[in-house]
Symmetry: C2
Subunit: 243 residues, 2 copies
DNA sequence: CATTCGCATTGACGGAAGTCAATCCCATCG
DNA sequence: CGATGGGATTGACTTCCGTCAATGCGAATG
C-alpha cells in the first residue's frame, strides 16, 4: 500500500496545512541587530544554527535575503517524507510567495545573517524589486537544474553533482570551465547525510554508498566526515552527467 | 556503466551548450500580430503548435508571457535524457534568465498567443516588473511542489498528481477544497505519454502502467487516449500523496 | 479496403535504489 | 577513562521502475 519510495520519514505533520512538528531541532533564532543604513527598508537579523526562520503555512508577511551563511528550504508530505527544495547561499532571496502563507519551511544550516523586508515594502519599491528580481531569476535556473537532477540523474550522478556544487570556485553547476585540469579541491559539506539525501531525493544509505563508491574509485577521500577531498575535479565533473 | 536511469533518450545534443537537435518536431512558429494597446511595451505574437519559441543556449534577449495555450520548458542532458522543468499556462512568465542565454528550451504544446518583451525594457519598467513578479513567485511555488513530486513521490502518485493538476477547477495542486465530494471530471491531457513521462521523471511505459492501474482500480476511464474521465476526484486526490 | 505510421499498452526480466538491521566511528561528558 | 549517543557505514534482502520487445489501436493515406 504505502509506496516503497517513502524513505526514512519524519514525524508526521500534524494537520492538513503540512506544518512541520515543533519537535524539530532548533527554534526561533531571530535576533534583531542594529539597523544598518546600507539596507534601506530591510532589517538585518542574525539567526543561529539549525533554527527555523519560518515554517510552511505561516503567514508570509516578510521576505528575506541571505547575507551570509546557508539556509535550506524544505517541504513535507503529510506522511513525513521530506524534500529539500532549495539550498541558499549569500545573496539568495527567499520567503516570496504567491499565497498569503509560505509554501515551504526555511531552516538555517549554519549561523546566518539575513535581511528581512516587509512584503508590502518590497512591492512598493521598484528599486528593491529590481535588485531582488535578478536573484530570483538565478534561483529559477537553479530550480530547473535541480529538476533535471531529481528527474533524470542516477544516485551517483546526484551525489557527484552535489559535491561539485560545493566546490567553491565551481559552484552553481558551471564547472565546464576552460581549464578543467585534474586539480584537487577540499569541500565542506555542512550537511548531514540525511539532509543531503532529502535534497537529492535519495535515502541517507544511498548517499553514503555513493560516497563510498567515489572513494573506492579513488576520486575522493573523506577526511573528517563532513570534509571531502576531491582528488580529480575533472573526473568528478564527468560523473555529474552534465558533461 | 551507463546508468539504468537513462530512460528513453533523445538524439544526443550536438555540442556542449546542450542545444537540442534541429530535428525536433516543429520549428520557428512565431508570427507577429498587430500591436495591441493593452500591452504597453510587449509585442503580441501567435505561435503554432509544437513550435520552439527559444532553445537552451540561445541569446536571452527577450522574455515572454503566455496569454493562452500551453508551453513546456525542458532541459536536455548531453546523453539525450530530457526533463520537462515547467508546464506553463495563461499568465505564466518564461524566458527569464540570470545568464545571457536561456537555461532551457520552450516548446508549445498547442497553438499559443504570447507577449514578447525586450529584456531591457522589463528591467526599466517598474510597473511591468511588479506585475510579472507576482507570476514568477507563483511559479517558484510550483517548482517547489514539483521538486517534491520528483524527489519523493512514487510513479502512481506522480501520475495522480499530474491528472489532478489538469482538472480545471483544481489546478495548481490546491485540491484540498472544503467540498471534496466524489464528483467526477473530464480531463484533457494535451500531452503524449512521453511528454508526461519527461515531466514526471518517469518512462512512458511507467506512465502508461500507472494509467492502467488507475483504470483497473476504477478511479478513471480513458475515453479517447488524451481524454481521461476521473470518476472519483476525491479518491484520486488521496493518491497524490499530498492528502 | 489494406497499408502505414505514430503512439499506447502489456509482458518478461533485470538492476538501481529503498528497507531493515547490525556495526562502526567519533565527539561529548560524567 | 569508559559510557553514551548521534551520525555514518555496510550488508542482506526486497521492490519499484527502467529496459527490451511484442502487440494493439486509431488516424491518415493511397
Amino acid at each position: 500500500m504505502k509506496p516503497a519510495i517513502a524513505q526514512r520519514s519524519y514525524p508526521a505533520a500534524v494537520d492538513t496545512t503540512c506544518r512541520p512538528p515543533a519537535s524539530a531541532r532548533g527554534h526561533v533564532g531571530l535576533q534583531p541587530v542594529p539597523r544598518r543604513e546600507e539596507e534601506p527598508q530591510g532589517q538585518r537579523q542574525r539567526v543561529g544554527q539549525h533554527a527555523h526562520i519560518f515554517r510552511e503555512g505561516d503567514r508570509a508577511d516578510r521576505m528575506y535575503q541571505l547575507v551570509d551563511g546557508a539556509v535550506m528550504l524544505y517541504k513535507l508530505l503529510p506522511d513525513g517524507r521530506r524534500q529539500v527544495v532549495e539550498l541558499l547561499s549569500a545573496g539568495d532571496v527567499f520567503g516570496l510567495s504567491a499565497l498569503p502563507v509560505y509554501d515551504c519551511s526555511a531552516e538555517t544550516l549554519v549561523a546566518c545573517n539575513v535581511i528581512a523586508y516587509d512584503r508590502t515594502a518590497v512591492e512598493q519599491s521598484p528599486d528593491l524589486l529590481r535588485r531582488l528580481s535578478a536573484h530570483v531569476h538565478a534561483q529559477l535556473c537553479a530550480l530547473h537544474e535541480h529538476a533535471v537532477l531529481l528527474g533524470r540523474k542516477s544516485a551517483l550522478e546526484r551525489v557527484a553533482t552535489f559535491v561539485m556544487h560545493c566546490v567553491p570556485g565551481r559552484g552553481g553547476f558551471n564547472c565546464a570551465g576552460p581549464r578543467c585540469g585534474g586539480d584537487s579541491a577540499v569541500v565542506r559539506l555542512g550537511m548531514t547525510r540525511q539532509e543531503i539525501a532529502d535534497y537529492l531525493g535519495l535515502t541517507l544509505e544511498t548517499v553514503s554508498r555513493a560516497f563510498s563508491e567515489l572513494r573506492r574509485r579513488g576520486i575522493i577521500a573523506i577526511d573528517k566526515q563532513e570534509e571531502v577531498r576531491v582528488h580529480d575535479v575533472c573526473r568528478m565533473c564527468q560523473l555529474t552527467g552534465a558533461h
